[in-house]
Structures are given as structure tokens and as C-alpha cells.
Amino acid sequence: MTWTRRHLITIEELSLPEIEQIHATASAFKKILQRNVKKVPALRGKTIVNLFLEPSTRTRMAFDMAAKRLSADVIAFDAASSSTQKGETLRDTAENIQALNADMIVIRHAAAGSPLYLSKILDIPVINAGDGSHEHPTQGLLDTFTMKEHLGSLKGRKVAILGDILFSRVARSNIHALTKMGAKVTLVGPSTLVPHGFTTLGAEVSHDLKSALADADVVMLLRIQHERQGHRHFPSLGEYTSMFGLNKTRASWLRPHAIIMHPGPINRGVEIDSELADGPRSVILEQVTNGIAIRMAVLYLCAGHQPEHVIASTE
């Protein structure tokens, strides 16, 4: 199958074969990253602009690292020192970046739909690095990639996503990826943050932690996003932790081989016990490492390359 997309905006719009193509490409890049020389010339001469209009540590660094591993030039757009502070519109900012001959834009934005909007304005590929509460496709791809590394096929696997689902782009991207891959997704957390409407996305909704964790192969924890909540959706962080925080007792309800995931940043002692975050079941740092390979794959494919080229080079 030929890769045809120029933009990566959502996982919702990806087909299962497309997700598998990205995973296979990432797998090849992961091998390259374990070599002595970690750099390939695939995007030499290309310029990628990281347009991050919302704070980010991991995603921004991983995209930066991925682009550099592909030999692209990377320009970081710092929202704080940019014209957006002077009232420039997103359209003008983006058109200026294109006029500066950028070859690709990676955008992180607090407003849902912004990457789609940019993709309609610009002629160059647009990669969504997280748009508001909507999607964070590369996160969903790296999470499912990490799950596959530990569990093999995700068909029939049970994944519990625990925490602030309502405001989570990570949850949405994972729900789309996991359901396409045949996994069973249970969303769990306080009823105000896990509304019943999420069942329309093909996930189950539960407010009972025990039943949600029982027999789960994966538990993915999400941070409580204070910055997206106009009001408190629950009484206090203390109550949240007492009702839904993952501790040793609750982790014992999981299947023996189950893994614990978190997209970061972690609030230790809130959604997860510090000990568990560092424990043997935690794959949190593997997710970060895999994030580079996934972003390399996405940049590589959306720049117009085909998966088989890099896969062949590592076989």
C-alpha cells in the first residue's frame, strides 16, 4: 500500500492499514536509533518549523529530535517572543512561515481544529502535535506502538484510560487508534470528567475503578488538566486521588503482565503513586523514547517517502 497523506491531523481519519504503516516505519527508525550513527539523510535540505503555541516539553523535544535524526533543519517558533503576542493571526503567522520556505509545519495549539485550518490554508504538510482537547495523533500512535511492543497484537486487549478524559486529546487519539486496532477501551474517572457521551466514540464509560481495572492489559493514566478546566469538575485533588488515584492496591487488580502508561507530565501522588510510576510495570519512559521513532515516521511519510524504503534499509 502506498502512503498518500501529506498531513497528519487526526487518528480518527486514519485507516487501520495507515496506522500499521506508521508503526512499521517507526519500528525501522527505532532500529536506526539504536545504531551508533543515529542520523539518516532522508530529509536533508528540508526545513521543519515547530510552531508550538502552547507549552510542551516532551512532544516538542521529540519532534525536534526526530527532525534532526532525519537531517532536517528545525526552526522552533517561540510563541512568547513571536508576533502572535502582537495580535498576528494564525493565518498570517502560518503564511509567513510558508513564505520563509519552510517545508513542513508541526503545530501545537490550544484551539481544537487549528491544524485542520492550517492544512486548508497552506500548501506544505501540517502535522498536528496536539490541538486543544481534540487530538494528539502522534501520542496515540506512540502509545499503541508501545503497547504492541509489550503485548503483541492489540486485538481483544483491554485498555483502561483513567483520569481527565473530557479535556484530553490524548484520550481521544488513543480511543480512535485502539478501537481501529480491535482493542476494548474503557474510560474511567469521575462522572464529570468522563461523560457518557464518549460511548459514541466506541469506548465504554465506567466510574467504578475496580471493574475497569480488572483484567486490564493496559492502564493509561491521564493528568488532571487544571489549565483546561474553567471550574473544578471534582471537589479536590485529594478526593480525586482517594477515589481514582492509582496506588499499589488498585494496581493489583490489573492482570499480572499489565503495563502502566502515562503521556506525561506526571503529577506524582495525584493520579499515580510515585512508586508505581517508577516501578517495573511502568513503561512511561519507553513511551518517550518511542515518541522519537513515531515522529520520525510521521515526518518521513508526510514528506512524501514510502514506508518500504526505510523498512528495507534496516532489514
Binding site: 480518527e12 493571526t89 494564525l90 493565518r91 495549539h109 490550544a110 484551539a111 481544537a112 481544529g113 487549528s114 485542520l116 485550518y117 490541538d131 486543544g132 482537547s133 481534540h134 487530538e135 473530557l166 486529546r169 481521544r172 461523560p195 457521551g197 464518549f198 459514541t200 466514540l201 474553567g230 471550574h231
Partner: protein
């Protein structure tokens, strides 16, 4: 002014229950039963074969942005958009800059209307100073200056006590109070209907309950005081139910619905197009159907457009940051014909009633009928003619319309105000 003789039109006048092919006459700016032989000879004759002659349309909810936001619209351009859409009387909202919360601003608006307007433009004033919901505006002075109603449209009076005093006080002057029903404590940061679609799109939801709470509040206050409250742009099925029960109980409430709330649902937001962003937001198919049912059984009194111009550069933004509101005047009739007459099997006269006599009645305006003696405000339209609406080529100064580029059926051919043809526009 020459007399007017409109020939062979299908005359539809809900006020007189008239619906049949015939001739319509006007003299000295008023509808007359007939003209003398000499009068007919001199009269301006319009062949209206195949056209419907309806009372000039009445829209009790438009934003003409003057004073202060004239980059979006002016009384001149807004009234031309009205004329092109078949409207002869429009009521403009007071959320201008400065807000129309004082007699001076009303005077300014009326001066501009006299100077620039091609249709009848009637101002409203604010309920509270600056529409901030804290202190009553000088409602008596506003009335004396010429407002036809008061409203904080765009903002909803949150204090129940202040709303109660406002309707009691305004009642003394016979001034209707129009309310934009939104409990803002429930809609912080909200940009679309709360529901399955907002969950999918990751946009902050505006629950219909935030409208229902205020509609209920207004029903209670109206019932308690006996004062009239008009609920603007009802978007929620539950609100329609609340109003239906209130009306059955004889409470003095009225309500309106917009063309966009009967034409679209929140599914239209799938591409984050800001031309589908307005407040209240598009809701679900069940809500859309309930609004149509409410218009059918009279629970909702009329259609109003909430014509809300914004420039391209203001609207062309991230969905969260784009301002609320869309144009409505130039497309309303075609949309109503499509949704209510063709799809929902309303009689043509019923649809016209919802855009003429009934909105006029809500505010007690002398408009919306072709009875002899009434102002000769007439809309001639072809109910079937298919045309492509291009908002950029339209009369409004702005072009923020979700209907732009769409083929519509039903087209205004001639708009007449006080017996004078105001649309098509005379070459200038």
C-alpha cells in the same frame, strides 16, 4: 409619489387570511383596496405573474453595528441587505460601540436611519448600562428617544432580581423586554453545543440546559409580574417544551427561532468552520425538529435572523477565537421556504405569517400586513427560482454566511417600502 399597481400576483396576507391571485394597489404610501381609473392609468405597474406578493418581511433581531463597528456593517449596508432579502422593517440590537444604553446613542442611530436606511430600521436599547447586567439603563429615556424594546442581547441578565425589576419597570412604558437566554455560569469558554459532536471535536460545550434554566426563569418572572418577556433565538427542544407549557398557562411570553437553527445541526461543525459558529449554538437534530414543531404549533412566535455581520479577518480564525454570529437577512426567506414549506409542509401563508404579522405583533409594530390602510410595505418573490447565493456579492458589508456558495430556491424580486420600490436598487 405615483400610485402602485401590482398585477397578477399571488397575494398572501395572513392578517386578512388572503391567499389568491389578484392585484394589489397602493397610493400615498398605503395599501388601498382599489385605484380609480385615472389612478390606474398613472400608477407604476408591476407585472407580478408567477410571483408571491407578501407583506414586507419583519425581522425583530438584527445587528447593524452602527455606531462603532462600522467595519462590519452600517445602517446603510445592513438596510440594503434587508431590502435585498425582502425585509421592510428590522429591529436592531443595542450591542453597538458605545452600547445603545442612553438616549444620545439612540438619537445617533435614528439620525443615521433617516439619512442612510432604505428600509424601516427600529432601534432597541439596553436593559442595563453597557449590557453589563449591573444597573438598569435609563429605560424611560430610551423609550422617549424611540426604542421599540429593550434587550441586553448577546449578554443575558444573570441577576434574577435585576431582570424582575427590569420587566416591571419597562412594563410601565409598554416596552417589551427581549432576552438572550443563557446562564453564563454554565457556558464559560463554550463555543458549540455540548453533546456527542463536542466530545468528538474536543470543543468546549454550551449545554442546552444553560438556555433552559433562563427560559424557565423568565417564564417564572413573567408569570409572577404579568410582564411580557420575549425570548430570543430559542435553540433547545427543552426550552420549546417549557414555553409550550407556559403559553398553555397563559403566561405572557413570546419567542423566536432563527433560520440557522431550523436548517442546521451541530454536525455542521465537523470541519470547524467559523461560519457555523453562533450563540446560541447549533444543536442536535432533535432540537432542530422541536423548534420546527414549536413554530408549527405557535409555541414559537416568529422567525428572526440574528443577522450578525463580522469581517472575514475577524471570522477567519481558530474556531475558539472566531466571534459568534452569521449573516441572515439575504438568505432567510429562501431558507424558510426550503425548511418549513418544502420540507416540513407548512402552508406558504403560515411561513409568511412567521416572518411578517407575528414578529410585528411580538413588539406591537404597525407592520406585517397588506390590509387596506396599512403601510405599503411589500415583498414580491418567486417561491421557486433557484439561485446561488454569493455572500461576497451580497449587500451586507460582511460575508460571514454558511449559505454562501449554496444553491437556494426562492428569490426576492422586488421590495417596496411605503409604496416605493427600494429593491432592486436604483442605479446610482
Amino acid at each position: 409619489m405615483p400610485a402602485l399597481w401590482i398585477r397578477n400576483a399571488r397575494i398572501v396576507d395572513p392578517a386578512s387570511k388572503r391567499d389568491g391571485v389578484g392585484d394589489l394597489f397602493a397610493e400615498d404610501g398605503r395599501i388601498v383596496a382599489t385605484l380609480s381609473a385615472a389612478g390606474r392609468k398613472r400608477a407604476k405597474k408591476i407585472d407580478a405573474k408567477g410571483l408571491v406578493a407578501a407583506p414586507g418581511l419583519v425581522d425583530i433581531h438584527v445587528h447593524f453595528r452602527e455606531p462603532g463597528q462600522t467595519h462590519k456593517e452600517t445602517i446603510a449596508t445592513g438596510s440594503r441587505a434587508a431590502a435585498a432579502g425582502g425585509f421592510t422593517t428590522v429591529v436592531c440590537m443595542p450591542n453597538t460601540t458605545p452600547t445603545a444604553d442612553n438616549a444620545g446613542t439612540i438619537q445617533y442611530i435614528l439620525d443615521a436611519v433617516r439619512r442612510d436606511a432604505v428600509v424601516k430600521v427600529l432601534p432597541t436599547g439596553c436593559i442595563t448600562i453597557g449590557a453589563k447586567g449591573d444597573t438598569l439603563a435609563p429605560i424611560g429615556s430610551l423609550k422617549r428617544a424611540g426604542v421599540v424594546a429593550i434587550t441586553d442581547d448577546g449578554d443575558c441578565v444573570q441577576s434574577n432580581e435585576l431582570m424582575r425589576r427590569a420587566i416591571e419597570y419597562a412594563r410601565m412604558f409598554g416596552l417589551p423586554v427581549m432576552d438572550h437566554c443563557q446562564d453564563t455560569s454554565m457556558t464559560e469558554g463554550a463555543v458549540m453545543n455540548e453533546g456527542d459532536v463536542s466530545i468528538r471535536l474536543g470543543l468546549r460545550g454550551w449545554p442546552n440546559a444553560a438556555e433552559d434554566v433562563i427560559v424557565s426563569r423568565n417564564v417564572i418572572l413573567s408569570s409572577y409580574t404579568g410582564a411580557h418577556i420575549h425570548m430570543q433565538h430559542i435553540s433547545s427542544a427543552a426550552s420549546v417544551d417549557i414555553l409550550r407549557r407556559a403559553k398553555a398557562d397563559g403566561v405572557r411570553v413570546t419567542a423566536e427561532a432563527t433560520p440557522h437553527h431550523i436548517a442546521f445541526t451541530d454536525e455542521a461543525l465537523a470541519t470547524y468552520d467559523p461560519n457555523f459558529k453562533m450563540n446560541p449554538p447549533l444543536r442536535t437534530e432533535a432540537d432542530r425538529r422541536a423548534i420546527i414543531a414549536g413554530l408549527k404549533d405557535g409555541t414559537l412566535d416568529c422567525i428572526s435572523t440574528d443577522h450578525a455581520p463580522h469581517t472575514d479577518y475577524e471570522k477567519d480564525k481558530e474556531f475558539d477565537f472566531a466571534p459568534n454570529g452569521i449573516l441572515g437577512l439575504e438568505t432567510a426567506l429562501a431558507v424558510v421556504l426550503e425548511v418549513l414549506v418544502r420540507k416540513s409542509k407548512f402552508k406558504l401563508s403560515h411561513a409568511i405569517d412567521l416572518m411578517t404579522r407575528r414578529p410585528a405583533r411580538v413588539l406591537g409594530l404597525p407592520a406585517g400586513t397588506l390590509l387596506a390602510g396599512a403601510a405599503a410595505d411589500i415583498c414580491l418573490f418567486d417561491p421557486e427560482e433557484s439561485w446561488v447565493y454569493d455572500a461576497k456579492a451580497g449587500q451586507s458589508k460582511s460575508s460571514n454566511s454558511p449559505w454562501s456558495g449554496r444553491t437556494l430556491a426562492g428569490r426576492v424580486k422586488t421590495t417596496i417600502v411605503d409604496g416605493r420600490v427600494v429593491f432592486p436598487f436604483a442605479a446610482s
